[in-house]
């Protein structure tokens, strides 16, 4: 019968691998957009699309300021850099963008004005600016342009329609362009980085300052890879060394690894079966599962040396009940997450329940088949285990130690309360390279313009209505602030605004002043009426989109515009970082309730299974773990975030497991569990707790909570066993 269970379990794992293999071919299997987890409302698809557009556009920009003492070298270096980046296949230089914009402005000059509100149009100012262009030093006026455009509207509009960014002064040149693929793709980052490094080696004598998401993303990815290599390496070596010292068999390590992999395959396959795409944030919980599910294998493996390598069925019986309780309570806890109606929690629920149950199934069916033969020196293994466990079993904490431990715990909690703070701001999550931040500051200084992440989203039934809404919002802002934005409607107004602008220019500029100006300048050539067609430049076209049958426009704001932003019907101000932060805040609050709900569910389950009040003492360990897990990082000055609360699920799962095994052993006078529980706690801390050393805040906070919480839960897990033994003695 057991074999059928093993075969079915193997079939499920094989099927899970197939499901994963098939689904990962589909580009939608994994979702990285945190927006998709935000609460939904009627406008949400539109906002989501706009945030995606704005983010993609901002993230795709690459700017490199090249400077040096020899301008020729600087110029050649800039050209070489643009060629090298273009050779990656991911980069297109802005060389033609300026010309496309100039052609558009020239073609549309008689229907555009500098003022965002037509009521502020001042024909005298237009004439004064035109004269300034004629008489100022080295302006770009040509006789040809003056004949076609006597008021030099093209040059005026080129100055006033876009944010007031200047070109770098002195011997500096900008290499600018856009990436045609996501800067968050590893292959894009590696290609850009390699091209940049090679170029830097060729031009060591020029100074460089970089700005662009791809550089930050590459630095972040490099740091993450280094951390994975270091933390993962230390963690793996530590766990394997620990298992080898205790079990003295490589087979033990292998089956533990297999159990963990089987659990991950089951969890991921279930999530991919149930959901169109699985959010990467779910994998935060996935790492937690490793810490919990590997314990199941350890508990079974320990029955070998402890029970003198009893027959397989006897070993399975020894762990069947506590493992079932652990798996059930943990599954129940995670399943409770699905009741909150939040997309990510539903995914976590399916992912975790499937993972826990697969690990339990594997441990109860396949693992015994893989570990049924006693090793050659079985007696020696048993003796070694007993020797290792002896100090744990013999250890009896005195009253003084108990009170001291309790005092330390209370002090940590008190200090944690005093220093308690929360962090939901995503901008503070990722460590920013000081070198890159310094370089970006130099680029901004050279350009004199700093973009802000805020943008105006204007929408309507069609593009014309969206433009009208954007125009209304910009018109309500002070002129100087409204200029600090890149808005499509300023270059390509709504039909009504075009007509209004043309009428204004005709009535206040051309009709009263054009003939006189031509005479005053002595223009000998006739004006040409035909301006020629021009396509909307790609830079502007990228700011326009369609979602859910509605048209929308994205207008990125500079700091001045963001500070004085006005919205109107059909226009809203969007701060993507604030939205993400708000989402994480609501998740953090919901997760706290989920932890409480899980705790309640576990209490009901434990009471139902054991049918005695003292069984509730198994909840002391997870409770102590959760309290210390949150309090210790807070006491150390680390704010609490969604990721801290998410880590509590690991702490609770591990705490319940430890308590249940110790409690079961005490209740049934079965095999001692002190060493295996210690092993389980230590492997969890090594697998997940070491993440506390990460330089990335979410990862570090997750790891630190697990390390502190599991340690506290381990210490507290002896309480129910002691109570049980005392109750037995009294009985």
């Amino acid at each position: 019968m057991r074999h059928w269970g093993a075969i079915l379990c193997a079939v499920w794992i094989a099927l899970a691998c197939v499901i994963i293999g098939v689904r990962v071919q589909d580009g939608r299997a994994f979702d990285t957009d945190i927006q998709n987890l935000l609460p939904q409302n009627a406008l949400e698809p539109l906002v989501r699309a706009a945030v995606g557009d704005a983010g993609r556009m901002a993230a795709s920009r690459v700017t490199v300021l090249v400077s040096g003492e020899d301008f020729t070298r600087v110029s050649d270096a800039r050209a070489d850099l643009q060629s090298a980046l273009a050779a990656t296949g991911f980069f297109a230089a802005d060389a033609e963008a300026g010309e496309a914009m100039a052609r558009w402005v020239y073609a549309n000059r008689n229907e555009l004005i500098c003022e965002t509100d037509p009521a502020r149009f001042d024909a005298d100012a237009v004439r004064a600016r035109a004269d300034a262009l004629l008489y100022a030093p080295a302006s770009m006026v040509t006789g040809d342009l003056l004949a076609r455009d006597p008021f030099l509207l093209t040059l005026q509009l080129a100055q006033c329609l876009s944010p007031q960014a200047g070109a770098p002064a002195g011997d500096a040149l900008l290499a600018t362009g856009s990436l045609n693929a996501s800067p968050f793709r590893i292959d894009v980052q590696d290609a850009v980085r390699a091209a940049y490094d090679d170029w830097r080696a060729r031009w060591p004598d020029v100074e460089v300052a970089r700005a662009g998401a791809v550089f930050y993303a590459e630095a972040g990815a490099r740091q993450a890879r280094a951390e994975i290599a270091l933390i993962g390496g230390v963690s793996a070596v530590g766990i394997f060394a620990l298992l080898f010292v205790c079990f003295r068999r490589s087979q033990a390590m292998l089956v533990t690894l297999l159990s963990t992999l089987a659990s991950l395959a089951g969890s991921l396959a279930a999530a991919l079966l149930m959901f169109e795409s699985v959010h990467v944030l779910v994998f935060v919980f996935g790492s937690a599962l490793i810490g919990i599910t590997s314990d199941y294998a350890l508990h079974y493996l320990a029955t070998g040396p402890q029970g003198g390598w009893a027959p397989r069925a006897a070993r399975v019986r020894a762990v069947a009940r506590p493992l079932a309780i652990c798996a059930l309570s943990t599954s129940l806890g995670f399943a409770g997450l699905g009741l909150f109606g939040v997309a990510i929690f539903q995914q976590v629920a399916v992912f975790s329940v499937a993972g826990v149950l697969t690990a339990w199934w594997f441990t109860m069916t396949i693992l015994p088949l893989l570990d049924q033969r006693a090793p050659r020196k079985a007696a020696q293994h048993g003796a070694w285990w007993a020797k290792l466990e002896r100090p744990f079993v013999a250890f009896r904490p005195g009253r003084r130690l108990i009170w001291a431990s309790a005092g330390i715990g209370v002090a940590i909690i008190a200090l944690g309360i005093l220093r308690f703070s929360v962090l939901d701001d995503v901008r503070a999550f990722q460590p920013v390279s000081a070198e890159l931040a310094g370089e970006e500051a130099r680029v901004r200084e050279a350009l004199g313009f700093a973009a802000s992440p805020v943008f105006l989203l204007s929408h309507g039934a069609d593009g014309d209505e969206a433009r009208a809404h954007e125009e209304a919002s910009l018109a309500a802002m002070p002129q100087a602030a409204a200029r600090d934005t890149l808005a499509v409607s300023r270059f390509d107004p709504s039909d009504a605004r075009r007509a209004e602008n043309a009428a204004l220019l005709n009535a206040q500029l051309f009709e009263p002043h054009l003939a006189a100006r031509r005479d005053a300048l002595g223009l000998t050539r006739a004006a040409e009426e035909h301006s020629g067609a021009a396509a909307l430049p790609q830079l502007l076209a990228a700011l326009e989109g369609q979602a859910e049958g509605r048209a929308y426009l994205v207008a990125p704001f500079g700091p001045a515009a963001a500070a004085q932003a006005q919205t109107s019907a059909g226009s809203i101000l969007i701060d993507p970082a604030a939205r993400y932060s708000q989402a994480l805040k609501s998740f953090r609050e919901l997760a706290v309730w989920a932890v409480i709900a899980v705790f309640g569910a576990c209490a009901v389950l434990v009471l139902a299974l054991y049918r005695r009040w003292r069984a509730l003492s198994v909840l002391v360990a997870p409770a102590a773990g959760a309290l210390i897990g949150l309090a210790l990082p807070a006491a150390l000055g680390m704010p609490i975030s969604f990721f801290s609360v998410a880590a509590l699920f690991v702490v609770m799962g591990a705490g319940i497991d430890h308590s249940v095994f110790l409690f079961e052993a005490a209740e049934t006078d079965g095999q001692s569990k002190e060493l295996v529980v210690f092993l389980a706690a230590l492997t969890t801390i090594l697998a997940v707790g070491l993440l506390g050393l990460s330089g990335t805040y979410p990862v570090a906070s997750f790891g630190l909570v697990v390390a502190a919480g599991v340690t506290a839960a381990y210490a507290a897990s002896f309480i129910p066993a002691r109570r049980s033994v005392r109750a037995h003695n009294q009985d």
Binding site: T72, Y135, A138, T142, L146, A167
Partner: protein
């Protein structure tokens, strides 16, 4: 007859020699244009812009104050325009209005043209941006600056600075045939 012809030839040769020697003296008395010390202070200027299709040249006058790292170029006639060029950028105010930062190609054009170095007479430092070719002129020297950058060459054929003790005249020839000259003299002359 032959003697008269010889005399005439000798007279012409003497006249030519005098002319040459005078001009040589004039050039010899002038400073080496590529060894001029940067000269700061106030200059009066007259800018004359010749545009194709425009009957009369456009003339503006004013005063430029050249200091270490900055130029304050103030047109006072026919209207008041103040252009300030510093290492951090270029601003312009019209008729006493608020200064506006200049952006776009005009800005780059101004900056890469090396107006600051040109006006202060620091011609040698322009070698980064231009190929420099000094020549003699009847009243001193001329230095022709041809842009090295392809981008600048799209707009400027060459810039020619002339003078003796300092830069007194600048001519800018645009690629489309338009040209502009700026006459400089110490303020108060």
């Amino acid at each position: 007859m032959a003697g008269a012809a010889n005399l005439a030839r000798q007279a012409r040769a003497l006249f030519a020699a005098c002319i040459l020697s005078f001009s040589g003296v004039a050039y010899a008395q002038c400073a080496d244009p590529l060894a001029l010390e940067p000269e700061f202070g106030a200059f009066a200027f007259t800018q004359t812009r010749h545009l194709s299709g425009v009957r009369a040249p456009l003339v503006s006058r004013g005063q430029a104050i050249v200091a270490q790292g900055s130029v304050d170029w103030r047109v006072t006639s026919p209207l008041d325009i103040r252009t300030q060029i510093t290492a951090s950028g270029i601003t312009q105010s019209i008729e006493g209005g608020a200064p506006q930062r200049l952006g776009g190609q005009g800005d780059a054009f101004l900056a890469s043209a090396g107006l600051l170095q040109l006006l202060s007479g620091d011609l040698a430092s322009l070698a980064n941006h231009y190929n420099i070719a000094p020549t003699r002129a009847p009243s001193g020297w001329r230095v022709r600056l041809t842009p090295k950058s392809e981008n600048a060459a799209r707009f400027i054929l060459y810039i020619e600075a002339g003078g003796c003790e300092r830069v007194a005249r600048v001519e800018v020839r645009q690629a489309n045939g338009d040209w502009m000259e700026i006459a400089l003299s110490p303020a108060g002359d």
